[in-house]
């Protein structure tokens, strides 16, 4: 079982609030990722990091921001939540070569965000 944690698991919040979704991993992985997934739809990469002080935007534009001050911690922040931000947010980590020989990703359980 992969040791990657996300809190909270569920969050219902009003429009305009600032929120931070937490993600931590105990595997010492350098690479970490944030995905957004709507029900029945594919995962879209919104942010990734290759190590401490490294953050990049993903393929899907997002109003969220991330930080990577410690290897194990990769929080995602929304300064002003809107109903369009309602979705499931999944955090993942990986390290080359991994047990598969190439960089398989380990996912957390996700945070389901609802913005009213």
């Amino acid at each position: 079982e992969a040791d990657i944690y996300q809190t909270p698991r569920y969050l219902v919040i009003g429009t305009g609030k600032k929120i931070t979704l937490e993600c931590s991993q105990t595997m010492g992985h350098d690479k970490m990722y944030w995905y957004q997934q709507d029900p029945g739809m594919e995962l879209h990469l919104i942010h990734y990091s290759y190590g401490v002080n490294s953050t990049e935007k993903g393929d899907l534009s997002s109003e969220s921001t991330v930080s990577r001050i410690r290897t194990e911690h990769f929080p995602l922040t929304l300064e002003s939540a809107r109903p369009s931000h309602t979705s499931q947010y999944l955090c993942a980590s990986s390290e080359y070569p991994g047990t598969s020989g190439h960089n398989e990703q380990f996912f957390g359980p996700g945070t389901r965000l609802t913005v009213l």
Binding site: E42, L43, L90, Y96, H102, E104, Q105, P109
Partner: protein, 113 residues
């Protein structure tokens, strides 16, 4: 950018039969192709990886093939069980882009007893 197509219709299958899922991609062939399982409300779990120079990979009751000419991977679950019911995602490893993964929409499998 890469586009991945998986059958969005659910696959209903009788216990004990073989489930076969397809993953088609449109652009360049990736160096690696990965398959994940996702249960409702959970994050995906890695199952298998196949390299571009491998034709077939097996793990227990799972088998993956990779045909770079057809730009297609097939995922087989043999002797299927109700516990195999889940959504299965294929993901392409964009090695040139720093090992980011591009995921397909997944195919839901329902194994009936």
């Amino acid at each position: 950018s890469q586009k991945i197509e998986q059958n969005s219709e659910a696959l209903n299958i009788q216990e004990g039969k073989t489930a076969t899922l397809t993953c088609n991609y449109t652009n360049y062939s990736p160096a690696y192709l990965q398959w994940y399982r996702q249960d409702p409300g959970r994050g995906p779990v890695f199952l298998l990886l196949i390299r571009e120079n491998e034709k077939e990979k097996r793990k227990e009751r799972l088998k993956v093939t990779f045909d770079t000419t057809l730009k297609q991977s097939l995922f087989h679950i043999t002797a299927s069980q109700p516990a195999d019911s889940a959504t299965y995602l294929c993901a392409l490893d964009e090695q040139a882009a720093g090992n980011k993964l591009t995921f397909g929409g997944g195919t839901r499998v329902l194994v009936k007893p």
